[in-house]
Symmetry: C2
Subunit: 231 residues, 2 copies
């Protein structure tokens, strides 16, 4: 469950010496940015041609992304970006409510003060920014950075996978209805940031769980953002 030396780094840029990882990074970025929406069929040959490689590393890249929850594939039937139902996304959020507080707990002791300062900067950028796409990117960077000192690779990788799997719908919600939520998110982030600075394990877990829980409840109030339940 690790591609670069120290776990899959979702913020890593698309420069890697190994082609399959470079391709995976390019596709990852495009999918997370919403440029390749759920349901899109991914053709090996097209990707290979566009990114200047043969089909083989593309196949490996698709396997890597599959492990990260960004694509899915069936034998002889190709790969696509998963279309998720509302119920599925809801349960993914419930998983996040349970796992991310644990990841933060495990990360908290080893989180250097410099990272806490960086978190504060990001939060200031979030508050200054009013572009939705920029917000989603910064929000992701903020939260994943709080987990960055977690020493357990599997836990971190699982959390990243859950973020990957829900991010598209999160952006869709923010574009559609989320502007009014901004002040709540900022308040929650400020409380969380303060608890992190105090290294308070109880408070960090509580604020974080509440933050995710509230987001889930907002999301499920908009079924129109999702694929129908019965495919």
């Amino acid at each position: 469950m690790s591609t670069p030396p120290s776990g899959p780094d979702p913020t890593a840029g698309p420069q890697s010496s190994v082609a399959s990882q470079r391709i995976a990074a390019e596709l990852r970025e495009a999918i997370l940015a919403g440029q390749i929406p759920p349901g899109t069929r991914l053709y090996q040959e097209e990707i290979a041609e566009r990114l200047g490689a043969s089909r083989l590393p593309v196949r490996e890249a698709l396997r890597i992304l599959e492990a990260e929850g960004l694509t899915e594939s069936q034998a002889n039937r190709g790969a696509r970006v998963p279309l998720r139902t509302m119920r599925e996304v809801e349960v993914l959020y419930r998983m996040r409510e349970r796992l991310e507080p644990l990841a933060l707990h495990e990360s908290l002791a080893d989180l250097p003060d410099s990272t806490v300062d960086r978190l504060t900067e990001i939060q200031e950028q979030i508050e200054a920014n009013d572009d939705v796409t920029g917000f989603v990117t910064l929000d992701r960077e903020f939260h994943l950075l709080t987990y960055s000192a977690c020493p357990i690779d599997t836990l971190l990788a699982t959390v990243v996978t859950l973020w990957n799997s829900t991010q598209y719908y999160r952006r869709a919600f923010m574009l559609y209805r989320g502007q009014g939520e901004r002040w709540i998110i900022n308040a929650e982030h400020r409380l969380l940031l303060d608890a992190i600075r105090r290294r308070d394990r109880i408070d960090t877990e509580r604020y974080l769980a509440g933050h995710i829980r509230r987001t889930r409840q907002e999301l499920v109030r908009h079924p129109e953002l999702f694929a129908p339940s019965a495919p």
Copy 2:
């Protein structure tokens, strides 16, 4: 995050039409049975020759297993079965404590009565059996069967990955010190089974969380089963 049509089935036998999946199934079985212990280097060529295929599907199989937590690989440095530290296994158990009750919760409503009967049979086999390897296999079958009706593939796959990642150490513990624990496990299983039959969501989650938690506490009392913390 799915190899056969409906998610990765860890109990599926090694007969598959697609070679990479067949190879992954063979290796999965061998690793889970403890025949390939943690730390073992896996050579593509050797596996390819032994299982009658070329190296290419072996590479794909190793990627599949990597996603399931059964192998790890670094660029140009090959694949191996991960060696986990005690701290790592402890956190993996904490993840299980949080996720498996959720999986059971989501599975419970759709779990057919016939499956509950099958669970009872398995528990009777567990009680009649005194071979440790047989116990570990049956115990895995029992728990994973309780989750089998969970409609969310990602949740199920994550739970299976966590089982895969901890199973070796679980067996090592049972071989080493676990025989006296058998009656406690049986009592816990009976309570869980009864709650499942009653479709009691609260009790199932409580008994299951307690069961996993107690197992974790037993495991961490035996640091000698694990790799040292500082590699």
